[in-house]
């Protein structure tokens, strides 16, 4: 009869251990940035950013393959420091934000590498989902301002034509866009 409490305690300890192993972080919008740049007439770069981003990630330190990353970008929040151009980018010739309001990433596979993680997942933009793989640098946790914090950074190269953007609008602005993600996560 004494076995039951012992078994319960063992299960509880294992459960607590597994909960501790995967740390859940909320995306810290204040200290994060999702920006992009694309070639202009193949002579310079146009820079922009998305101001409204949400996400979460869980890091399993013992078994990194169980880690997950999710990011949701509001396409409407595109900001290139030019209001007229931002309006143009929101229209169907570009992001079509009324039809495709979000740009999403959800990881499907995570692998630990020396300075971070190699993350594979599905990137959905403009109604098209494509598998992508990128190197996420970072992952060191520190405690600051009353929270446990972790940060990552990556650069991702995408072709607009792969995501069904209007090919007629690819010319002055290059097909390839570089997306730069620098995000911080926080937990209690």
């Amino acid at each position: 009869m004494r076995r039951a409490p012992v078994l319960f305690a063992l299960v509880a300890a294992l459960a607590a251990g597994s909960l501790r192993a995967a740390d859940e972080y909320a995306y810290d919008l204040v200290h994060s940035s999702v920006s992009f740049k694309a070639r202009f007439l193949d002579i310079s770069w146009i820079h922009g950013r998305f101001n409204d981003v949400a996400g979460k990630f869980s890091l399993d330190r013992q078994d990194p393959t169980k880690s997950t990353f999710e990011l949701t970008i509001k396409a409407d929040s595109v900001d290139t420091a030019n209001a007229a151009r931002d309006e143009h980018l929101r229209q169907p010739d570009y992001f079509d934000t009324k039809q495709f309001p979000t740009i999403d990433f959800k990881s499907t596979q995570v692998k630990a590498i020396p300075d971070g993680y190699e993350v594979s997942g599905n990137f959905t933009m403009h109604g098209v989902t494509k598998p992508v793989t990128f190197k996420l640098v970072g992952g060191k946790e520190i405690e600051a301002m009353g929270k446990k914090r972790v940060g990552f950074g990556t650069e991702l190269k995408l072709k607009r034509s792969d995501f069904n953007f209007d090919k007629g609008q690819i010319g002055a602005i290059g097909d390839e866009a570089i997306i730069i993600i620098d995000c911080a996560g926080q937990r209690d």
Partner: protein, 309 residues
């Protein structure tokens, strides 16, 4: 998207195919007014297809955007109903029911999957019903008026309204949404010219013309809705564009229904009705140009800019 020459090619394809098919169809069915009427709708269909085919990437399948659903769902359904009407397969009651059903689903189809229908709040449903009533009234009214009177001016003004809507949508920043209006307008112009010229004065002429005019109204409604909801076409501009052909219809109806006074004759005159339609269209065009100059015009880059190594 095409340059000016590409756009003219698309317009020429739409117009040319529509007028050739319309005239040939009318000539082949000289003793069959019903067939002549159907030929006008068929000419408009193939003119539209030929014109759109000349534009790159329009439409893309499956139809996931508002523009694609407009081109591959709403327009074909409207044209099919008008072909039925021209062929006399259905009586007036069932045509009214069909047009009503399509009017009711037009907005949900055009806005499917977009932020506009997210949440399903009461205001969304009220908007859908209001838009359905507007489309149904305009569609039925135009078809009935043109069928009864053979009035060609409604279709002419619809062509002009389609062109102005396309220009306004393009100048507001949605180039692809704007340019599709040009071959559609050209196909409608070709079809009404064929209907008016080849089968002048015959029963089939008014029936075919009514079908083409009614389908033109649906085309205009759909374009204005997607221009307003997905592009930057303003609500006032959208209302003025829709009002132009409707005012022409109402003015003619008013002059015919009342007593034969000099005022009624003036209201019903072609010159007055053209003026009535021209004012809102010019207002929309001027406002679109002013908006373009102050906003997007400054971002323009000449597509032929040379990039030297």
């Amino acid at each position: 998207m095409p340059d000016g020459i590409g756009l003219m090619r698309a317009a020429a394809c739409g117009f040319g195919v529509a007028i050739v098919l319309g005239v040939v169809g009318a000539a082949l069915s000289r003793r069959e007014p019903v067939l002549a009427a159907v030929a006008v709708i068929v000419a408009m269909v193939w003119g539209g297809i030929a014109g759109l085919f000349a534009l790159p990437g329009v439409p893309s399948l499956p139809p996931v955007t508002g523009l694609d659903r407009y081109l591959v769902i709403l327009l074909p359904v409207a044209l099919a109903i008008e072909a039925e009407a021209a062929a006399g397969w259905l009586d007036g009651f069932w045509l009214t029911v069909e047009r009503g059903c399509v009017s009711l689903v037009a907005l949900p189809v055009l806005l499917h999957g977009s932020v506009w229908l997210a949440g399903g709040q009461p205001s969304v449903w009220m908007g859908i019903v209001a838009a359905a009533i507007v489309l149904w009234g305009a569609w039925e009214g135009t078809a009935g008026h043109v069928r009864a009177t053979g009035d060609r001016l409604v279709a002419v003004v619809t062509v002009a309204a389609l062109v102005v809507a396309g220009l306004a949508i393009a100048m507001a920043g949605w180039l692809k949404g704007g340019v599709v209006a040009i071959p559609l307008a050209a196909a409608l112009a070709g079809a009404i010219l064929a209907a008016g010229g080849a089968s002048l004065g015959r029963r089939g002429s008014a029936s075919g013309l009514a079908g083409a005019s009614a389908a033109g109204i649906v085309a205009l409604f759909g374009l204005v809705v997607i221009g307003r909801c997905f592009g930057r076409l303003g609500t006032t501009s959208a209302a003025l564009l829709l009002a132009a052909p409707l005012m022409v219809t109402l003015a003619d109806g008013f002059s015919r229904s009342g007593p034969d006074t000099s005022a009624a004759r003036v209201v019903g005159s072609t010159r007055y009705r053209l003026l009535l339609a021209a004012v809102p269209l010019v207002v929309v065009l001027v406002a679109a140009k002013a908006d373009f100059d102050t906003k997007l015009g400054r971002l323009l880059v000449a597509p032929s800019a040379d990039v030297k190594p």
